[in-house]
């Protein structure tokens, strides 16, 4: 099971039998719009608070994932989820609705792959038949908690990123039809001293590079073994740094397609999102909406999703702490 230093090899190949990706208006205007299961035209989802809106996104993504899996909610044996809000309320409250055994996790924006890796591990080890992994974020809850009130007029620097409004969920099963999860590399914290929360891409890039290289070293795979390698939310600045670091370390990324969910989800030239997307929802909706569909229709055979997370809090950066970062990689392949 453990291969190399940090990689789990899933010999039973857990199957993603269903998934759901729900997004807000900005993502719905982006280039991946047609791959999302549900697009909300308003940011507030007609809820009384931003937090309620975020929770609704998660609940809907979970519902869609369960429906697509052709199982019932009570068939789910575990739900693993997390989000950016204090005490991960969006997922805990969703778990209250679901009524299934729940493990709350926090990995900031890496939560998408953290939860998917853990869910795969449980299914692979025979701990359950059906496990759901999910995560969500909302632009306005993130602004409110980490930055300023949403309507506050502050100018964002070009390195800043735009938190994705969206939720993604996937149901993993021991058997069934669908893309399979074959291995996962759990990252370790990398902190090279960036303290600016408006430049999270630069803070997270070394963590992504570390996990990608460890993944290759542990599995014996090379970049050319993947049709696509995507980082979670490094966006324009961080992705370029990651590219350059990998080149410096002589990792042949030219043999594959190397992209970033934060760059894919928006049209950076037309939508005012500064460097690109971020947030738990970013890699979640791109993976569970866009990538899984492309794997299913045969355009992609093997994909490595490297979700990146900046593990700071609003308190820690005010106290001038640097940003500890992490990245978890999960390999998803065509099933059968």
């Amino acid at each position: 099971m453990l291969r190399g230093k940090q990689t789990w090899w899933f010999d039973k190949r857990p199957v993603i039998i269903g998934s759901g990706a729900v997004v807000g208006p900005d993502e719905g205007e982006g280039p991946l719009a047609e791959d999302f299961d549900l697009i909300h035209p308003e940011l507030d989802l007609q809820q009384k608070s931003w937090e309620k809106a975020e929770r609704l996104l998660m609940e809907q993504a979970a519902d869609i994932a369960v429906k697509q899996s052709s199982i019932e909610k009570h068939d789910l044996q575990f739900f693993i989820g997390g989000d950016l809000l204090n005490q991960i309320i969006s997922n805990s409250f969703t778990a209250r609705e679901l009524g299934v055994p729940y493990l709350g996790v926090f990995g900031a924006c890496s939560t998408s792959m953290e939860s998917l890796a853990l869910a795969s591990m449980i299914v692979n080890s025979g701990g359950a038949q059906y496990v759901m992994a999910g995560t969500c974020s909302h632009n306005c809850t993130a602004e409110k908690q980490f930055r300023y009130p949403t309507e506050y007029g502050s100018q964002k620097p070009p390195t800043a990123q735009y938190t994705v409004t969206g939720a993604g969920a996937a149901v993993l099963a021991a058997e069934g039809d669908g893309p399979v999860v074959t291995c996962a590399t759990i990252g370790k914290i990398v902190d090279l001293g960036i303290a600016d929360p408006f430049n999270m891409g630069a803070a997270m890039a070394p963590a992504a590079v570390d996990t990608i290289q460890t993944h290759f070293n542990d599995t014996g795979r090379v970049p050319g073994d993947y049709d696509l390698i995507v980082t979670g939310d490094l966006a324009r600045v961080g992705h370029q740094i990651a590219k350059d670091l990998l080149e410096r370390n002589e990792v042949p990324m030219d043999d594959t397609v190397f992209n970033d969910c934060g760059l894919m989800i928006y049209d950076l030239e037309k939508q005012g999102v500064q460097a690109g997307g971020s947030g738990c929802g970013c890699s979640a909706v791109v993976t569970y909406g866009h990538l899984l569909k492309r794997i299913k229709n045969g355009e992609l055979n093997r994909v490595l999703v490297v979700a990146t997370g900046a593990l700071m809090s609003p308190l820690s950066f005010q106290q001038k702490e640097t940003i500890p970062c992490i990245a978890h990689a999960v390999a998803i392949e065509k099933g059968g």
Partner: protein
């Protein structure tokens, strides 16, 4: 496609000090156009002040007030406009373009209070709106008062200003 076995498992690890990396990252940051931002701030900030002046002149002409008498209602009008624009979700979009141009005038101060009040309405009127309204504006008031205190002391020592 797969590389030769000899190539596998030997990608060298990151060997970069924090100092080296900061320079590496800094050189890949998009430049911030200080000149453009200054120009925009100057134009927009100036425009807001021109609007304020027009309103003041209006009050003076139509209500026959002196310029001192007109300044109160003028500030109130500017605050009202800012609060309406904030509530309509326009002010923050203007600010992304204008930068300090929308932050420095009294409209920026009103925006900071109004946006915080709106944002925390969901936590109730007392702990939400009341407790958070000065979240951003509070430091302006604190340091404004502190600065005024020291300027006052300086005036006493130098024997300048004051009546």
């Amino acid at each position: 496609m797969a590389g030769k076995a000899a190539d596998k498992g030997k990608y060298k690890n990151m060997t970069m000090s924090s100092k080296e990396y900061k320079a590496f990252a800094k050189s890949r940051e998009p430049g911030r156009s200080v000149l453009k931002n200054c120009l925009r701030a100057f134009v927009v900030g100036g425009l807001i002040c021109v609007i304020g002046q027009a309103i003041q002149n209006g009050y003076m002409a139509w209500l026959h007030l002196t310029s001192t008498q007109a300044s109160g209602p003028t500030v109130a009008t500017m605050i009202f406009i800012s609060v309406v624009l904030t509530s309509l979700g326009v002010y923050d979009k203007m600010a992304q373009w204008a930068g300090a141009g929308t932050a420095v005038p009294v409209t920026g101060f009103a925006n900071s209070m109004c946006s915080a009040a709106l944002e925390h309405r969901s936590e109730g009127l007392v702990l939400g709106v009341g407790g958070n309204m000065f979240k951003l504006a509070g430091s302006v008031i604190v340091y404004g008062a502190v600065a005024a205190f020291f300027v006052g002391i300086a005036h006493i020592i130098l024997g300048t200003g004051g009546q």
